[in-house]
Amino acid sequence: MSQSDPHATALDLPPHMRPERSFQGLILALQRFWADYGCVVLQPYDMEVGAGTFHPATTLRALGHKPWRAAYVQPSRRPGDGRYGENPNRLQHYYQFQVLLKPSPPDLQDLYLKSLAAIGVDAALHDVRFVEDDWESPTLGAWGLGWECWCDGMEVSQFTYFQQVCGIECSPVAGELTYGLERLAMYVQGVDNVYDLNFNGRDGDERISYGDVFLQAEQEYSRHNFEHANTDVLFQHFKDAEAECQALLAAGARQRDEAGDGIHKVVFPAYDQCIKASHVFNLLDARGVISVTERQSYILRVRELSKACGEAFLQTEAGGAVAKESQHA
């Protein structure tokens, strides 16, 4: 694997592409860094998710023994984090940059720090810290140990050694890095408010700020999340997604049995429904219509789905399964 000198890269770039000048430049620099490391650089998953972890390239690919390296940007929706555009660094829609390396390499911390250097976080100037934060996603039946990575007191990334995903032990363990892109960009660009970030790296009339792109949307979605989202419809969506997920898994299992090759046939589409159920649950939660006791049971229902998807995934080629000689052949 070739590792190019991050500073040389940054200096080679035209000013509007440099991470300390433009939000998109920062994204490109991270993509470049992890592409150089040998990751497949994917595009965002085309569904609403709460975190990059939900992308099948992480959830499902973290399972099974096959090596995997991926990096991608994932828009993340956190309905409850809506602040009507008034909080300087909390958004109900923000970008995560997600890296998944399976197995976790021995120098993962160093790689992470190098990637920070590649986007202009100078470790001689900034106080970078690894602070205990055991990550857990009850809906995904996933947990791992690791840290929040702090830069001058700001949590800029989550760093996790996955121990379990979809209720299944990770073997081998994968390392997951989740960068909060807006917060990192605020450091690198030296701005105090996320909406002041320079998005495209241009000046004057050509300058587009993060606020130009997203402020209105943040305000509107905050209204949606807290005031308008139709909860009856959402409750129905939840039920539908749950039923559809189960139906698809059953269909895939049936075809597996018909083929007699032990390979499950419909995992990714079923998993999409699990993602959907999870997001609908987050919306309902933000609307405050789920009571404490119900909350637990909703979480369990989503976890059941993710567990079933994970188990089915292990019966596919990507999950490391080998097709049995078909009995009908």
Binding site: L125, D152, S171
Partner: protein, 702 residues
Amino acid sequence: MPDLLLELFSEEIPARMQKRASEDLQKLVTNGLVDAGLTYEGAKGFATPRRLALTIHGLTARSADTREERKGPKVGAPEKALAGFMRAAGLSSIDEAQIQSDPKKGEFYVAVIEKPGRDAAEIIAELIPGIIRNFPWPKSMRWGAGSTRPDTLRWVRPLRSILCTFGPETEEPEIVAFEVDGIKSGDVTYGHRFMAPEAIRIRRFDDYTDKLNAAKVVLDSARREEIILQEAKNLAFSQNLDLVEDSALLHEVAGLVEWPVVLMGSFDERFLNLPDEVIQLTIRVNQKCFVLRDPKSGALTNRFILVSNLIASDGGKQIVAGNEKVVRARLSDAMFFWETDLKTPLQARVQKLGNIIFHEKLGTQLQRVERIKSLATTLAPLLGANPAEAERAAELCKADLVTEMVGEFPELQGLMGRYYATAQNESSSVAAACEDHYRPQGPGDTVPSDPVSVAVALADKLDTLSGFWLIDEKPTGSKDPYALRRAALGVIRLILENNCELSLTDVIGQACSGHQRDALAAADISGVTPDLLAFFHDRLKVYLRDQGLRYDLIDSVISEDADDLQLIVRRVEALSSFLDSEDGKALLSGSKRAANILRAEEKKDGKVFDSSVSADLLSDPAEKALAEAVDVAVSKAKAAVDGHDFTAAIEALSQLRAPVDAFFEDVMVNDENAQIRENRLNLLNRIRQATQTVADFSKIEG
């Protein structure tokens, strides 16, 4: 004698686990060495975010040779016995055993097991890998390609290197060679992650601390705490501010840095509109920073202290700016919660409590609030509280549980209720009750004195206690998951410290019927009141004893149905001062003497002497005088007790001292005439009855 140095270098260890881990390491290694026959002079464990270290000095270089004789079966014993002996003693043939003889037993086998001493280095190399593999981390993990193996090493975070040297002070120490999951022990460590990441070769402990110090690592956490505290105080002082000390935070922060650098930041003054507690909690919990006070007014200021892990090339300007940015965002979040919460009156939140289950068998928080409301209203007149205010306070007291702020910081429950109630212009009593009805939270906590707070606090606790009694979830032994002992003690202190006179039997009954209206319609409450009352008696005894009152006196005045705590205490106090007086002591011994005689004679005759005294049978002036005095004392004492005037009751009893003394001086109880004897015994019983009006004297020691 040689020293041992061990360092386990890893990725960042959670701050809260470091202390315990360094202690465990020390204990496990020293115990292991001692078990293997070595001795040592001293040991000390250390922890930083990236390493656990242990130094042991004065360790013996070799364990002593040992010789053990193990007695076996008789010569000629059955095959089976011989085989068992050989197995236990590790012999391959019985010829390896010696034969000894004993005059009684005859000839028998003895195995002599000789173990030569072993080099300490060998023992260490064998001991440590096992300790590492089985280390008692509260949570441990797997990592990397090796994690597929079932026997893969688990550690709190990935373990990266092991340093282990051993040798006498005067010589070059040697590496104790071993391997754990592919990590070979060596003599190399690393300095501060950013300021001195290079590998460093280490020989022994003094050299280790010096080199680490030069590599910007302060090994000792106590020293790091000291540095942080000192620098923080100095920095505060230089700005004319006071540091708000926080030892738990100090300890945590010292576990997050290897080289503490203390800096000061500030935030926008407009955030000072938030309650102080909210500012402090936000800055402390989320940012792990200390807040600062104005020494004159005592109010929080818009400055804070942060502890970084870096001597930055710009003197920390960017670090401070970065931290300020985060603190601003956090406070702005808190401001958002505060302002959002203020938009909805507490009243309007109450219905939402219906979504929160208090306990599956005891219904929702809303049902609970309804019960507390009705109980507090009933209690109010007894406590001098305005019933309408008590009702209002009870209605609002749990509403803050469904505010944004308490959702974010559960530890602010109650306090936020007070702030929000004040903000919506509730009376100061109602606002105070929103916070104080949780009090007292423990023996050290203050007891509210505002009658409205007292009413709601009592109602809250009595509702809890009676509820858990009704569903039979009482505390047992050391198990008290719902803190019911604390609640009962709270009730006791609320009543006593506020001089309330009320019947616990009545209020427990009222609390129970509240539960019957709600979830527990079918519950049987008949046994609950006496049982809960007995629980209160037990807690009261413990409480009064802690207050320095005599246990036997407390016991002597608490009858099964005593349900007015205030009266119990006053009775104990009056009794206690009486028994300190001459009259008291004499009466106690007189009544004990009477009781002893009665007990003996009642046993002899197999009957109880509790009939009335017949005046005709009294002949001796002393017994006549006593009979008269007892009648007077009983009626006076009874009347005084009924009027709750225990001093007067005691005063009445004290009049008995002289006649009782004279009676025992002049009169023979066991007269030959059976009728006279019985009459005198009945008279003794009257003394018992007289004292009984105040206390059960038989339970009093002395």
